[in-house]
Symmetry: D2
Subunit: 348 residues, 4 copies
């Protein structure tokens, strides 16, 4: 069975695993105040060129978004996001569970635009409405598209105009910053946002997201929020060890390059076969329009997501490559798609 379900189906990249094994019997103080975690944080600060940043390591993406946003906002303040945003539709209302409304702006491609922010602000007139205060974007977006540098600059300017914080969910930041369409560096991200995350879980470690806080007003007492909301790991050094491995020798970006390359191979093969995409994919989330009969057959040989019909005769199929995807698997998937395209049965 092939596996193109997601990018968190295996454990850890071998270098990360080695680091965990090597440090396993070391004794460290708990809760992330150990030396390794400090080293990992320093590696990141240097890499993003912001020695003044605060770096916190958390376990899951929902946890990171929730703790950060709840920490940043006053009770009556709210978030502007797209209606495809991960916090809008895939985190079980976690932001609302901390008391904050998410204002969802309709988006077809996953992008939040300055114009959407203008509209949200215009609508929220006075104290009978929540007060918009934080803009949430994801890069790569939930549809696999990526922001360009000028798009991010425009958002920054719009946020400044209204006194809004700009928060970037980087669950798949590595993929965004290493794909062919990208023109942005991680230093740019660190310069243009108030806070952002560096996703590890989907880029080769067992678990972990780094939360980077750049705006001084948002830094105070963050560890209280992390502990209060269950995010402070007793063996905090596990996060330090893994992120240290990721940011030594730029492994973080190397891993993503592999992911993107396998995705590009798959994408190009699919184009050649004449299938269409739901949206033009920049990174490793490839949404393909599959005829129902192709899907029905393919699903017997490969795991992938196909939850939504595209129309009456087609499904929306999502193929995801990862740091661990062998090139051979891409070729095999393309072979299957080719055979099915031709209407023949699959010869296994």
């Amino acid at each position: 069975m092939l596996f193109f379900m997601n990018d968190y189906s295996e454990g850890a990249h071998e270098k990360v695993l080695e680091a965990l094994i090597k440090t396993n019997m070391e004794q460290h103080v708990g809760y992330g105040v150990d030396d390794i975690t400090s080293e990992a944080a320093m590696l990141i600060k240097k890499r993003i060129n912001r020695l003044d940043a605060d770096v916190h390591f958390l376990v899951t993406g929902t946890q990171t978004n929730t703790i950060a946003i709840a920490h940043f906002l006053r009770p009556y303040e709210s978030v502007i996001a797209t209606d495809l945003g991960h916090i809008s539709v895939h985190e079980t209302g976690a932001i609302e569970a901390t008391g904050h409304k998410v204002i969802e702006m309709e988006s077809k491609d996953g992008f939040l635009t300055p114009e959407m922010i203008d509209r949200a602000i215009a609508k929220h007139a006075d104290e009978h409405w929540v007060l918009p205060k934080l803009v949430y974007i994801s890069n790569a977006t939930e549809t696999g598209t990526i922001y360009t540098k000028s798009m991010l600059e425009d958002l920054r300017n719009t946020c400044d105009k209204y006194g809004l914080y700009l928060y970037l969910d980087g669950a798949r930041l590595a993929n965004a910053l290493t794909c062919g369409d990208n023109d942005m560096t991680i230093e740019d991200v660190a310069k243009l946002t108030d806070a952002f995350t560096i996703g590890g879980t989907k880029n080769g470690i067992l678990f972990g997201e780094a939360l980077i806080i750049l705006n001084n007003r948002l830094k105070e007492c963050m560890r209280f929020s992390i502990k209060q909301r269950g995010g402070l790991l007793a063996k905090g050094r596990l996060l330090g060890v893994q992120f240290k491995a990721l940011f030594e020798d730029d492994l973080y970006f190397e891993i993503a390059k592999h992911t993107n390359e396998t995705a590009a191979s798959l994408k190009n093969g699919i184009i050649e076969l004449g299938y269409k995409f739901v949206a033009n994919p920049s990174t490793n989330l490839i949404f393909v329009i599959l005829p129902n009969e192709v899907h029905n057959e393919l699903a017997k040989h490969c795991y992938y997501e196909a939850e939504h019909p595209y129309d009456e005769s087609n499904m929306e199929a999502r193929f995801v490559t990862s740091w661990a995807t062998p090139k051979a698997d891409v070729l095999e998937l393309l072979r299957l798609l080719k055979e099915l395209k031709n209407g023949g049965a699959i010869s296994s």
Copy 2:
């Protein structure tokens, strides 16, 4: 430098680490619905003799307590705990952050008694007060003492009298159930509580707590709460792999036996040396009264907690052994304590 700071200073027990390494490149579906996690849950259900139980695997102790208790209670319901309870004083008000008051009953030894519950219930008369609904206890307690079976039965009866849920925080349950003073089995715990936790982090795994729900009324939709509060791990199988390792061949209890044996050696040695305990320790938390001059010297050679003065001339020192504590380290610590007892300098 010796290390008796806590029982989560190393990584994972070798058998657990091996299981992680062995399964690292396997591909599994995410979020804890994989096969390994199911196997781990089944092993636990069999071991506690409750095939009807719901088993959920979470990452940290604060997270587990918070998600469980917030899930179980209605907004106006509250928790009865001791004023030493982990949720009362070491979780940054996590329970209150979900909207629920913790009614703290003064305790000297960490035990919550039926009489305390009687008093709490009597005081909370009507709708001008919160409604007590859940009793929180820890076993082992926060002072290292343990509940006997009859104590737990009495609590169960008291809870039944008032319609209260009985929740047992088992962050150090393994230590409690394997120490010399214990007369209870894990089956007893599963029979007498509405929900309890099986702590892994402090007993040889990288991270992880199992939440066991026995009362049918408390089971519904728990995965929604876990996801909403950031506790659903993408690579959920990591928890499955570790707990499977713990509950194959009863490794869980074997590990704790080692912890308790080193603790007993240390305790006996300390008694021989004539030092006094703050409380009589049953498990691996040993609170010793150390003269200030002994503490000042010892702290140069050994890590341990000593945050509170016992009186003007003594400190309250906490020594903790773990699954990874070598017996040689216990002997070395006793040697140091002996030398310091005699007033001499330490010969290193």
Copy 3:
């Protein structure tokens, strides 16, 4: 200056005021457990033909919606409402502040339809989404339209299909049930919903909303929630006195008839003058398309809301009549509109 700003600009209807004066020096126990409040509750139970209902009296509409909905839902459950719903856009995120997401379905006319519920349910697939559990509608709606009996029956059936609660915000229920287009009785409302409110503030009393709970599962411990969220009035009898006055001799509906009659006069006059409506108004909220030059002049002589432009040359103006609106004021407003229509200056 004429005043068509809203229906809560005066104090209380004379009969309500008399009742307050008459009982002013009586001594009653506090917090709504007095005899007058019981009598008021019984009058309502009889009037809606549901002796089994629980009736609670609260102070403001936002308070009532918030306390009720937060009481009814588990933490991960959510509300389906229109994007025009009062809780969606005019209560400062009060529902979200208690932890619950409001799923906003786009609506042009204020109505929530079964089809919208179907769509919301279909989208919210599993524990990565909030769980829809309560449907919120307003009657009259926020645009002044009203539900027919068959519309409400269809919603009831759809809610039953999915196991949803149906909650009706009756801030302007009196207006809805007494207007010309209505075919529903308050007994119907009590039969078809799980809970609903009877608005007093906008129908002739100083303040007060009655919360009617019909579904037994939602009743338990409501007074705890009311007290906890600041809604339990020390001099609770004030609510009892006012609602008793409203439900003796059906004053509640008489008042609304006057409101609707003045609204109908205004509406008919406006039609004769040739102005257009934004939506066809059934009750006392009349949204008129006013040319900018008419609005600019009229606003010097009359208070009314005109916050949104209709298009480049027109404003959306909202005229509201109330129990206290003199017929003479309607005639005077129509005179002004007529003069301005003719392009002439206003002769005062």
Copy 4:
């Protein structure tokens, strides 16, 4: 039947009622931005000699405490109060329901002392604990005692030492500031606290508490919090009218003087009769130790609270006088107590 149950058993003082009647048919804009409310706020600002203060009018005491404290604090911050504090034990965990822990310090007489604050601060060491940030006191306290000026100054200094806000719940502030033992003015209160409340409900109006915010850091966006938590009254002018009546000609203090005088008469009569007090009462809450047989007989002729036994043979009885208590009722209560003292039956 005599009535010494509480000080909110009647409606409004005649001057307040007159003001409500007189303004009943006036038309005002809603939600407290009307002229009368502004005038009332200005009267208070002048009376407390703080033109820079923000004044908000709310409905209930629990509502006011909750909205203010939740607005002032960050999620991980907590409140220090006594274990007798109204927010600790009579508001159904309202503060906790907004996410904040109340650290309860044991108190016998209702006073919170600097020493208690020192102890609370010392205990809350780091991010594993909530962060104490606000000190809550009541004046008069829940036991009827009052703070002297030097006591309040000491609390101010202690708060400044630790960077804490000082919040004073003035539900019975009028009684405190007009009783014989008092040496403080309302200007002193406004000078020494960061925020305080001026209770109206228990001092002659139908309902209403004024929240006074003095610390600039706490002022921003308060109206959002008031609306979000259901505290913004549509007919906000009702609060304005009543507080304007209270602060014209110092009616607020006149009313309280009457209350205190009747309380003093009752207290002196009780002393003469030889009954003992639970605590020495300064204001209108008089806690008397009544022999069970006296209580059993008296309760047939007079309403008062007697919820707690003092010891095996006595009850703790609470008698409360109010602005509406006739002097004749005091004399009659004393007559009853005298007859019962002598063991005789009551001659009615």
